[in-house]
């Protein structure tokens, strides 16, 4: 666990200006980085011997409508040799939601990025095949964004407060 915290110091030493925030209190260390530096940081974490985070566990989007940079991408990396996990976050503006694709590093990122694009509209630069994956291709919204309600918003017969929502 101690080593696990060292990785944040290593990233901070190498990419100091790109680190927005870091946190070590949660279930795993978490680093928020600028969207332009995601690729270089994860590339370093994967390829550098001192890091060794060579397994991409998960990649998903998140939406905080009230933040200055509302759309986020969250990466979970795993160092299988030393069994350490690391969370990388990056946030982008809603007008220009662009992040570099991780597909050159991880083949697994391909569909996970397509899923994130499908639901949040985050575009991944240099992705080989960035199109919708689970939703129909002619859908013109990004349904997981918070402004899209689950049910028909014009419905009046049902008060959601009474349904645990």
């Amino acid at each position: 666990m101690e080593e696990n915290k060292e990785i944040i110091e290593i990233i901070r030493g190498k990419f100091g200006s790109d680190i927005v925030e870091s946190e070590t209190d949660g279930d795993m260390p978490s680093v928020t980085v600028t969207s332009g530096s995601v690729y270089s940081i994860i590339s370093f974490l994967k390829n550098d011997a001192s890091a060794g985070y060579e397994f991409l566990t998960d990649l998903c989007g998140i939406h905080y409508p009230d933040n200055k940079l509302p759309l986020g991408v969250i990466y979970h990396l795993h160092n299988l040799r030393n069994n350490m996990r690391l969370r990388i976050k990056t946030f982008v503006p809603v007008e220009c939601p662009e992040v570099d694709s991780l597909t050159p590093l991880f083949s697994a990122a391909n569909w996970m990025e397509r899923e994130t694009f499908d639901f949040y509209g985050i575009r991944f630069r240099w992705h080989p095949n960035l199109k919708r994956i689970l939703n129909v291709e002619y859908l013109d919204i990004f349904p997981m964004r918070k402004e899209y309600p689950l049910e028909d918003p014009t419905r009046e017969d049902k008060d959601n407060r009474f349904f645990g929502r």
């Binding site: 949660g26 279930d27 795993m28 978490s30 060579e54 397994f55 991409l56 566990t57 998960d58 998903c60 998140i62 939406h63 969250i74 979970h76 299988l80 069994n83 996990r85 969370r87 991880f106 083949s107 697994a108 391909n110 569909w111 996970m112 899923e115 639901f119 994956i133 689970l134 939703n135 129909v136 349904p143 997981m144 689950l150 645990g164 929502r165």
Partner: protein, 403 residues
């Protein structure tokens, strides 16, 4: 050991050549689920493949943002419906991790028994379906009886069979009934013989071996790059198992082996699953023998749903029942990633809570979704019938694929 590349090298594209496009799916008996493969074929050889997924997408992640924590569990058992109790208990463990609840040994051991039963039923189906797709229907009909027995045990535990909705946040609704224990002991007595018989049918069967060895192989390096976990990764030779790497639910109390393969082909995947079932039997037997005394639920009012008879007779229980079901319980803000070893690999729950009655964001790391993208690479250059075997040995569950 000599590792043979099963892929035939495809000659540079001949412009005069006419390729055939073949739609495998969306509803095809050999896909065992609703997903489509558009194959480009040169005669019988697959040149390229493209998958279309999402036919049974049900927006579970969006629904989960609008449901209190107690109402999310029924969503999880519709993902991998071959091993739904693992999904259910994985969700419980995630919420418990967020709340910081420590469960008793009794709960942990009960969970191990249920999760290993689910793993056996999942692997039984997968392995027997590999048999079916290679032309051996007999094994399938044999082991389906045992899967039925496992479902009957679920029935004794929670009343449901397929979509189990088993367990609760902070434990179980009731202890295992005597009938459940009897059925479990009967199963443990019978299952080794059935498995042995099943293995006799297939493991060293010349036809089966010829059909599966060097079919649909993937190297350990590519498998890791593609995010493989579970039996598919272990068949490629990487001994990564969440139960050992990040022990949850007291798995570290038990001694078991992580089987690994060498070539990552269909036969290795079959053998790894076969051995995992033996290990699961061992785990269940040990957990049942060493089952500690104690409570089957944690006593935290406001988290654990009170027993029904108390709800009818005690005011506090009624209030808590109402608050829990309506999602009026205080949840701490925070984020957790929790993984369990599902039937197909690392089943992860990434939960972000803002302290509200519903999760702010819930993402399911679905192993099938992540490793199905490797399918074109695994089947390029092989014949169509091998592609079908590769698909069934990867154990892709449409519900988990599409969430």
């Amino acid at each position: 050991m000599e590792i043979i590349d099963p892929h035939i090298i495809i000659q540079p594209e001949d412009t005069d050549k006419v390729y055939t496009t073949l739609n495998l799916g969306p509803t095809h008996p050999a896909t065992h689920g609703i997903f489509q493969n558009i194959l480009t074929m040169d005669g019988e050889i697959i040149i390229d493949a493209e998958q279309t997924v999402g036919y049974i997408h049900r927006a579970f992640e969006k629904i989960a943002e609008h449901r209190p924590y107690y109402q999310i569990k029924p969503l999880t058992d519709r993902m991998n419906y071959c091993s739904s109790p693992i999904n259910n208990l994985g969700w419980d463990l995630t919420v418990e991790k967020l709340l910081g609840i420590k469960t008793t040994k009794k709960i942990d051991y009960m969970r191990i028994i249920i999760m290993e039963l689910a793993r056996i039923s999942d692997h039984l189906i997968c392995n027997s379906v590999i048999g079916v797709d290679s032309g051996a229907l007999t094994g399938f009909t044999y082991v389906f009886q045992e899967r039925e027995a496992i479902y009957e045990i679920y029935e004794e535990m929670c009343g449901a069979r397929l979509t189990t909705n088993l367990g609760r946040i902070g434990g179980f609704e009731r202890d295992f009934s005597p009938a459940a224990i009897t059925k479990l002991r009967d199963l443990l007595k019978r299952l080794p013989n059935v498995l042995r018989e099943f293995e006799k049918l297939l493991s060293r069967n010349r036809i089966f071996m010829d059909r599966t060895i060097h079919v649909g192989g993937i190297s350990a390096e590519r498998a890791l790059n593609y995010g493989f976990t579970g039996p598919n990764l272990r068949a490629a030779g990487v001994d990564y198992d969440v139960r050992v790497m990040n022990p949850y639910s007291s798995y570290n109390d038990f001694d078991f082996i992580i089987p690994t393969g060498t070539q990552g082909d269909t036969y290795d995947r079959f053998c790894v699953r076969e051995e995992e079932m033996w290990q699961s039997i061992k785990l269940i037997t040990n957990a049942l023998e060493n089952m500690p005394e104690g409570s089957w639920h944690v006593d935290i009012p406001g988290i654990f749903l009170p027993p029904k008879e108390k709800v009818y007779s005690s005011m506090e229980a009624l209030i808590y029942h109402f608050k829990i079901v309506m999602g009026e319980i205080g949840m701490p803000a925070g984020e957790v990633y929790n993984a369990v070893e599902g039937g197909n690999g690392e089943l992860g729950f990434y939960l972000v809570s803002d302290g509200g009655r519903t999760p702010y964001r819930l993402h399911f790391r679905r192993p099938s979704f992540i490793y199905y993208q490797a399918f074109p690479e695994m089947i390029k250059g092989s014949v169509l019938s091998d592609a079908i075997l590769t698909m069934s040995s990867m154990n892709i569950i449409a519900g988990e694929l599409d969430a």
